[in-house]
């Protein structure tokens, strides 16, 4: 009896120590959920469900820069503090969702309109916990795109290179006409682990989606190679590369996408 008690106690202690070290395992999101952002700054106070924003559809049609620089969405969920009046004034979501702009030969529905016929449309965005039929079906939308191993299960980079998606980088009335970006050189980042291939960071691949100001200096403070010491722990916590590569861009568990330099 005493022995059984001690065995049970030992099992409990081991279980406790193990869970304390590893924490609760995070559920990996399903392909259509990856990149999902729930925004609830003012929705619930207004008696509406929080907004569910799916990155996959928007990232297929627009560059990150267009939304996060030109339109001004913050990189952190909820940090923008979007109000219905902002959308109605033609900013943030209302930059495109104004009932006038057309994409793919479809007029983009207007958001937060006061028109009586628009009231039923609130659910298109304010949909957390609601059974809402989306305008685009994820499986159908992505069926002809190159496969990726993780995240949305789509290799967005190849989809863009192959011309299967053509993300817009300019929005009339919002964006500024600029010259095309002078692409900076690619560079290698050494790893600490022996046998682990170094990272080849491609400015070219990143500047397709982002301008300079999206990453510098908010995400990457040091421009001189070797100034900042990056650690995978910090990156997994959502710093540096992890700002995008834990939430929207291909996830960090896809090691070979970054650690590409052949080991000598």
């Amino acid at each position: 009896m005493k022995r059984t008690f001690y065995i049970a106690l030992l099992v409990l202690v081991i279980a406790g120590v193990t869970s304390a070290q590893t924490g609760v395992k995070k559920k990996r999101p399903l392909p259509y959920e990856y990149g999902r952002v729930v925004i609830s700054n003012y929705s619930e106070k207004a008696g509406l469900a929080p907004v569910v924003f799916d990155h996959w559809l928007h990232r297929a049609k627009f560059t990150c820069r267009l939304c996060h620089v030109d339109i001004g969405f913050a990189m952190k969920a909820g940090a923008t503090g979007i109000k219905a009046s902002d959308n109605m004034n033609g900013y943030y979501c209302g930059s495109c969702h104004n009932g006038k702009k057309a994409f793919d030969d479809k007029i983009v529905f207007d958001t937060c309109s006061k028109a009586p016929e628009a009231q039923t449309r609130c659910l298109r965005c304010h949909s957390l916990g609601k059974n809402v039929k989306a305008g685009y079906d994820f499986s159908k939308f992505t069926e002809n795109l190159p496969r990726g191993r993780f995240g949305n299960g789509v290799d967005w980079e190849h989809a863009e290179v192959d011309g299967l998606i053509k993300p817009l980088d300019f929005l009339e009335g919002i964006s500024i006409k600029r010259q095309s970006l002078t692409v900076q050189k690619d560079f290698a980042l050494g790893t600490k682990l022996e046998g682990m291939p170094d990272i080849i960071f491609s400015h070219k691949k990143h500047t397709v989606w982002n301008g300079c100001e999206l990453c510098h200096p908010e995400i990457f403070v040091g421009v001189k190679k070797g100034t900042t010491k990056y650690s995978m722990t910090e990156i997994f916590e959502g710093k540096y590369c992890g700002v995008c590569h834990t939430s929207v861009a291909f996830p960090l568990i896809d090691c070979q996408r970054c650690h590409t330099k052949a080991v000598q």
Binding site: I71, G72, K177, R178, E213, H216
Partner: protein, 109 residues
């Protein structure tokens, strides 16, 4: 007297035509001298922030000048309505931060 009246009428017509033309092509018609304060800040904002693409090729003096222009523009943006203020202050900050970042990295070299 009649000449003066005709002259004043012509001036008034010219001003109306100029301001109308400026609405059609906001950026190109600044020659008539009718400055719309509302568009003025936006033109300056567009001009400054369109240069972020070339930030790496500017000299330190050019970068300092761009930062000063951002700082000068900020109080004007702060006077806009709530939505515009929120959007454009963030956008302006992104531009300024980038120029400063490139300037500091050049000065460290």
């Amino acid at each position: 007297m009649k000449k003066l009246r005709t002259c004043l009428l012509c001036c008034a017509v010219a001003v109306i035509v100029c301001s109308g033309a400026r609405d059609i092509e906001k950026k190109t018609f600044s020659w008539c001298g009718v400055v719309h304060a509302q568009d003025d800040w936006r033109n300056e904002f567009d001009d400054v922030c369109s240069r972020t693409q070339d930030a790496m090729i500017f000299s330190p003096d050019e970068l300092r000048n761009l930062i000063a222009r951002c700082d000068k523009l900020k109080p004007r943006v702060e006077k806009l309505d709530e939505t515009q203020r929120k959007v454009f202050l963030k956008r302006l900050q992104l531009c300024r931060d980038l120029f400063l970042f490139v300037l500091e990295s050049k000065e460290k070299k």
